[in-house]
């Protein structure tokens, strides 16, 4: 008797909304056992993990800052994932966006006009899109697997940034340390509130999420993307060009990831460093699927993952729990979310399936 998954006919609408809550409750229950076993009061840990990080305006701003790059990359990726285009290289496209936009900021120098910022934004969109254009070209011209090409280009992008900050873009007054000069204040993203780091990038990400929803739900290209992903044969019959959609989804994903890179370097960082992202481009893949590839779902998923990072820091500071414990807790959260997602769509059956029995 082996368990197997069988697709449910007709997915319960209500369950799609109930399961994320259920998953969080299950995570809290299992997490409590873990925390209690480690000799901590579970309620205190859960409070420090989920509530304390966002119990102040500053904390809310930090949550938004952390979620912004995740949401931007995930939305870009979701277009491709809907159309079965597997761009795994958002991290590299983010890096290229930071290089293109940040390079412009360095070139502008210390007394840069405030008008450089829009130009930097455009440069980062183009930079990210250009990096994604390579896998798009290789895919459409040579049918090269975009999973491999986009992933491998990530390492090229990171080494390119490393070369620039170790070499031509190194701060001349920086004792040969690998970092660029600080950007001029005039080309940094304007802050939205006093006393926090919340910058213009966050509302732009929100607007782009709404725009993405509009594209997918209301525009013809969104419809085409969905058809290509669900039934490629039907898309072929309808005359939708897979080639064209490959280009559109990869370029969009690259551009949005590039923008995320610029928002990091022209936002909280303020200069180019050898590492500008703690893996946002990769975490965004989780965010995209956690949000069920829906722009508004991605917004929520981005905030949840961001909170799990902030919570991990807070339990270290407040309760002295080691980082590994918050890692386990984050893993539980993802496990329950994805498991409940599977069980909403599939049921577990024991034994061989009917079809196999007929064949045997």
């Amino acid at each position: 008797m082996r368990p197997r998954l069988e697709a449910r006919i007709g997915v319960s609408g209500a369950m799609v909304y109930v399961t994320p809550v259920l998953a969080v409750v299950l995570t809290m229950a299992c997490g409590s056992v873990l925390f209690a076993a480690l000799g901590h009061n579970p309620a205190a840990v859960l409070y420090a993990f989920f509530v304390q990080p966002i119990s102040s305006a500053y904390g809310l701003a930090e949550l938004t800052i952390k979620a912004t790059p995740l949401v931007l990359c995930a939305i870009g990726l979701s277009f491709g994932f809907r159309a079965n285009i597997w761009n795994i290289g958002a991290e590299g496209q983010l890096t290229l966006g930071a290089i293109a936009g940040g390079g412009l900021a360095l070139w502008a120098g210390d007394d840069a006009s405030v008008w450089f910022l829009p130009a930097m934004i455009i440069a980062s969109l183009l930079g990210g899109a250009a990096w994604a254009a390579i896998p798009a070209y290789l895919k459409t011209r040579f049918n090269a697997n975009e999973i491999l090409t986009s992933l491998m280009l990530t390492y090229v992008a990171i080494l390119l940034l490393s070369y620039l900050v170790h070499g031509p873009w190194k701060d001349p007054d920086g004792y040969s340390f690998p970092q660029s000069r600080m950007f001029a204040d005039s080309v940094l993203l304007p802050l939205l509130t006093m006393g926090t780091r919340l910058h213009l990038g966050a509302p732009i990400a929100l607007l782009l999420a709404l725009a993405a929803w509009w594209v997918m739900a209301r525009m013809f290209v969104g419809f085409q993307i969905k058809v290509v992903g669900l039934t490629p044969a039907a898309a072929g019959l309808a005359g939708f060009s897979v080639r064209r959609l490959t280009w559109i989804t990869l370029l969009t994903g690259g551009a949005l990831s590039g923008l995320a890179g610029l928002f990091e370097v022209a936002g909280p960082i303020g200069q180019l460093l050898p590492s500008i992202s703690p893996g946002y481009g990769f975490t965004a893949i989780i965010v995209a699927f956690l949000g069920r590839l829906h722009p508004l779902g991605i917004l929520l998923a981005g905030l949840l993952i961001a909170l799990s990072y902030l919570g991990g820091e807070t339990v270290q500071i407040e309760l002295g729990l080691p980082l590994a414990v918050s890692g386990v807790f984050q893993g539980m959260l993802l496990f329950f979310l994805l498991a409940s997602d599977v069980l909403v769509r599939y049921r577990i059956r024991w034994g061989r399936s009917v079809i196999v029995q007929e064949a045997g």
């Binding site: 040969s176 780091r197 990091e264 909280p268 960082i269 590492s275 820091e313 270290q316 980082l323």
Partner: protein
């Protein structure tokens, strides 16, 4: 009347005692000291040694302090949040223990003028930000002397992390010492572009051994090179902490970072109000770095030479960067009779003669 007077007096006295006790309690509230680490604590390497320093504070002051650590904090946008959160949650002294935390530390320090910050290996100070680092190159000098005597192939392999001044300084110090005792020996460098990646470090060690190196040095944190050296029957020198148990046969010695005394002293300075912003660059003399126990296989004369060099550096009679020093092009950088000054050491971005290959720019 009289009793009530006494009674009232007693109540007053009691109240005074209670309030005095409460005031002392407020004073005796432990000093919160925060630590921001770039890696996991683990049981060896850079972050481990900083955490040993944190434990030294715990040990020295007991319940007069409360230390907090945040591990594996990424350099970049995340570190500022962590540092700020420590400052905002009542930590009065915060150690940020990686170069990449420099600008975030300064930004947070600006908004918390009453919190003292200590940034390791950086070069920017402020009224409430001190910097500190150890003169690791002094240890490299000793390791270079030993390597020069132990090598048979006259090729020393060096695993570099990033081509920053601190690492270049280590390579140069090793090479200068090496050629002092063995002019035929040269240093081959492999850059792995990471501080900690056992896979890459192990592969780099094997590649260097394949190219004839029989002593492996490293400026990275994992014990992979020590293990690879043990496997292939060559020598290795450990980094940051004593790595003997990872390769008892290969491990010649290691350059150990010892932050304990500095951390305890700085904590004490905050407690008694004498803390001042400073730039500390201590070495063997102050005990900020120490040599791990030497391998028993090192011949007695080589051991004596190493110990003598150590004593001379401590006494100040030997400087690892004493002239004449020539760069790779043969250009004289330091004339005979002079030592390279600290400023040039801190911004070093050139190789001395005897290093093979070009410094990545």
């Amino acid at each position: 009347m009289k009793t009530s007077f006494i009674k009232r007096g007693a109540i007053w006295l009691g109240a005074a005692a209670v309030s005095a006790a409460m005031t002392t309690a407020a004073w005796a509230e432990p000093l919160k000291v925060g630590f921001v680490y770039v890696g996991p604590v683990g049981d060896h390497g850079w972050t481990y040694r900083h955490d040993q320093g944190r434990k030294a504070i715990d040990k020295a002051f007991g319940d007069k302090v409360k230390t907090t650590l945040v591990e594996s904090v990424k350099e970049g946008a995340d570190s500022e949040r962590v540092i700020r959160q420590l400052a905002a949650s009542g930590h009065k002294l915060i150690f940020t223990t990686s170069f990449g935390f420099m600008n975030p530390t300064l930004k947070v320090a600006k908004s918390f003028p009453n919190v003292r910050f200590e940034h390791a290996t950086g070069y920017k100070q402020a009224k409430n930000v001190s910097t500190y680092a150890a003169r690791f190159y002094q240890g490299r000098h000793i390791a270079g002397l030993i390597a020069g005597k132990m090598t048979k192939s006259n090729v020393i392999g060096y695993i570099g992390s990033f081509p920053i001044p601190e690492v270049v300084r280590g390579i140069n110090a090793t090479t200068l010492a090496l050629q002092k005792v063995n002019p035929k020996a040269t240093v081959k460098v492999v850059w792995v572009n990471t501080w900690y990646d056992p896979g890459k470090e192990g592969a780099a060690a094997k590649a260097l051994i394949d190219q004839g190196a029989d002593v492996i040095m490293q400026h990275t944190d994992s014990p992979a090179a020590i293990q690879a050296a043990q496997e292939r029957g060559v020598w290795a020198v450990g980094q940051a902490s004593d790595m003997t148990h990872f390769g008892p046969k290969s491990h010649l010695t290691a350059i150990i970072d010892v932050w304990d005394n500095y951390y305890v002293a700085r904590t004490k300075a905050v407690m008694d109000g004498s803390w001042k912003s400073d730039d500390t660059w201590d070495g063997l003399k102050q005990g900020m770095l120490q040599m791990a126990p030497y391998n028993a296989a090192i011949p007695a004369d080589v051991l004596a030479m190493a110990k003598k060099a150590q004593a001379n550096i401590i006494a100040g009679t030997v400087h690892p960067f004493a002239g004449p020093i020539k760069d790779q092009m043969g250009k004289e950088k330091v004339p005979a009779g002079k030592n390279l000054d600290d400023g040039s050491l801190l911004s070093m971005n050139w190789y001395v003669q005897g290093v093979q290959g070009k410094l990545p720019k």
